[in-house]
């Protein structure tokens, strides 16, 4: 069983009368890239701030690396984070900003800062002050700052905001490399679902401060893939018919539905065989769901959706 790096239990954050995060119980396994999906104002940033130790929960518990309560202080240095806009000193260079964080950790290794600058693509920034950086450069520096200290857990709040297509690809590649080469656990929030789908291994969908679903990539893809949906009162009688037809990939979803993933272009033949077998088919339809639509259907927010 995978070790759980992050566990939250009924985590809640209340600001006055407004409940920004409501009773979130979540698990992130070691080595996962956990995508936190939600529209603006859903509670993603507030949730990440609590994990990062920047905000105290109103209720609930956080467990990181097997530690909780007062013991959390001992493991906080194993977390790197980029929350909202990158926090950088405008009158300093990228090197100086990274140098300060290295001093915070007591890191004196030669070439350490240069390696990070190379990783985030800012080796050529030289003496340029960060106040003159583009948004994408600032974002990358923010990621670089999060990487100082070799964190085991990386919390990234919408890291591709403001990046051009090339920048998005570079950040995505960096994240994947960190996950694969360093086995870094990454929690990344975004409302750009298509990008998230390329890197995340697990998903948590947040809506109005609540975690409405946790799902793995495999499960999500299954739910989004093209399929034939059959509505019938006797799904168990459908199975022998499909086996006879040589259809191997299907799933009895519940007591009234069967999903078929093979031979979906043979829907008239499937329908005929089922009827001939005496199965009352209430509905037979071809379905496929884009990730965005899956999210929108789940949250019921078609008119307010943000997708690209």
């Amino acid at each position: 069983m995978s070790q759980m790096i992050v566990k939250t239990q009924e985590l809640t954050k209340q600001y006055g009368h407004h409940r920004a995060v409501s009773s979130i119980s979540m698990r992130v396994r070691k080595g996962a890239v956990y995508g936190l999906i939600g529209r603006n104002g859903a509670g993603k940033t507030t949730f990440l701030k609590m994990l990062a130790g920047l905000a105290a929960p109103t209720k609930g518990e956080i467990e990181l690396f097997g530690r909780k309560g007062r013991e959390l202080g001992a493991v906080r240095s194993r977390i790197g984070c980029l929350i909202e806009a990158p926090g950088i000193y405008g009158n300093m260079t990228a090197y100086d900003n990274l140098d300060l964080k290295c001093r915070f950790f007591g890191i004196r290794k030669k070439g350490y800062i240069e390696d990070i600058l190379k990783l985030i693509g800012l080796s050529d920034s030289g003496k340029k002050k960060t106040k003159n950086f583009s948004l994408g450069m600032k974002q990358r520096l923010g990621i670089g700052l999060a990487l100082v200290g070799e964190p085991d857990l990386l919390l990234l709040d919408e890291p591709i905001n403001g990046l051009d297509p090339q920048g998005i690809v570079e950040v995505r590649d960096t994240i994947m490399r960190l996950n694969q080469e360093r086995n870094m656990t990454i929690v990344i929030s975004s409302h750009i679902l298509e990008e998230l789908s390329k890197i995340a291994t697990d998903y948590g969908i947040i809506h109005h401060g609540e975690l409405i679903q946790e799902i793995t990539r495999e499960e999500l893809m299954k739910r989004c893939v093209e399929r034939l949906e059959i509505a019938t009162d006797t799904p168990e009688m459908v199975v022998p018919v499909l086996d006879t037809m040589g259809i191997k990939r299907y799933q009895i979803v519940d007591s009234g539905h069967v999903w078929i993933f093979d031979g979906i272009d043979q829907s008239p033949t499937i329908n005929r065989e089922l009827v001939q077998a005496g199965i009352a088919v209430k509905e037979l339809k071809l379905c496929s769901e884009k990730l965005e639509n899956y999210y929108l259907n789940l949250t019921g927010g078609g008119s307010h959706a943000e997708y690209h």
Binding site: A52, G53, L54, G73, C81, R103, F105
Partner: protein, 282 residues
């Protein structure tokens, strides 16, 4: 903790504002010394200056605003001690200490850099303590620079360098460093707790211009009307102690001023550390 202090020290040394403030302070000290030098050569002005000093010695109420007068008797040589005392009492050094304290204490919060480190400390209050340590370094360096500039200015504008009683000067400088450091800690606490640079800076400058005298006077009046007791708040405050610590004060006076500095410094630093520890980082 040591790493955090090193980080803040590097940040302080890389801060342009520190050097700009020192340059401006040096310029102001040169200007005041030049002015004093020319006044000193005028017997009438010298006598007026002495009369002002005599009036102030018998009072406990401060004047509003900033001013510099030196405690040199007419006909005597103006010493380094006299000039240094005059500038300190006029809060010349104080204003540059508080301006830097506001800028330094809040810059990591203002630009958001605190998000990179605030969640990774075992105890967030150590970030406040680190700032306090570095403000001590800044205060000491400020006074060293002030003294060096004064030495050079005295030589140039008075034509001689008379230091004055060294042990008394040393004791006075040490206590004033302590008082100015306490003032820096008070301002740091205000900057951290209020999280608004404009208000913090305004309050800090008003403190240096003795505007808090109005507040103290109101409180003293209130206590008198409620309890029929006369209370002297001013000499129990940091800004009051900076202004009223006499040039050749007794050891009791020096001790009392030091105690005021230590108490205010510890209380304000503790409160700001606790507030910072508990408050969310936005």
């Amino acid at each position: 903790m040591l790493n955090i202090i090193r980080m803040d020290f590097a940040r302080m040394m890389r801060s342009k504002s520190q050097y700009i403030l020192w340059i401006v302070m040096a310029g102001l000290l040169i200007l005041t010394t030049a002015t004093m030098g020319s006044e000193f050569r005028d017997p009438k002005a010298s006598a007026e200056n002495w009369a002002t000093i005599q009036d102030q010695a018998g009072e406990s109420a401060e004047n509003l605003g900033m001013y510099v007068t030196i405690p040199t008797k007419p006909g005597e040589k103006a010493t380094l001690y006299d000039l240094f005392y005059g500038n300190v009492q006029g809060k010349v050094e104080a204003i540059f200490v508080v301006i830097f304290a506001v800028l330094f204490a809040a810059s990591d919060i203002r630009c958001g850099y605190i998000k990179n480190i605030g969640g990774q400390c075992k105890r967030r209050s150590s970030l406040v303590l680190s700032k306090a340590v570095n403000l001590l370094i800044y205060t000491v360096l400020t006074f060293i620079i002030a003294l060096l500039v004064q030495v050079v200015s005295n030589q140039i504008f008075f034509g001689y360098l008379e230091i004055g009683p060294v042990s008394e000067l040393s004791a006075y400088v040490a206590v004033q460093i302590l008082l100015h450091y306490a003032l820096a800690l008070i301002v740091m606490a205000i900057a951290i707790m209020i999280s608004n640079n404009l208000i913090s800076m305004t309050l800090a400058i008003l403190m240096c211009m003795n505007m808090t005298m109005l507040l103290y006077a109101m409180i003293e009046k209130g206590i008198h009307s409620l309890f029929d007791k006369n209370v002297d708040l001013v000499t129990h405050t940091v800004t009051g102690s900076i202004s009223f610590l006499q040039a050749h004060g007794s050891s009791d006076a020096l001790f009392k001023a030091s105690l005021v500095a230590v108490i205010y410094g510890v209380v304000f630093t503790t409160v700001s550390a606790l507030v910072f520890q508990r408050r969310d980082i936005r």
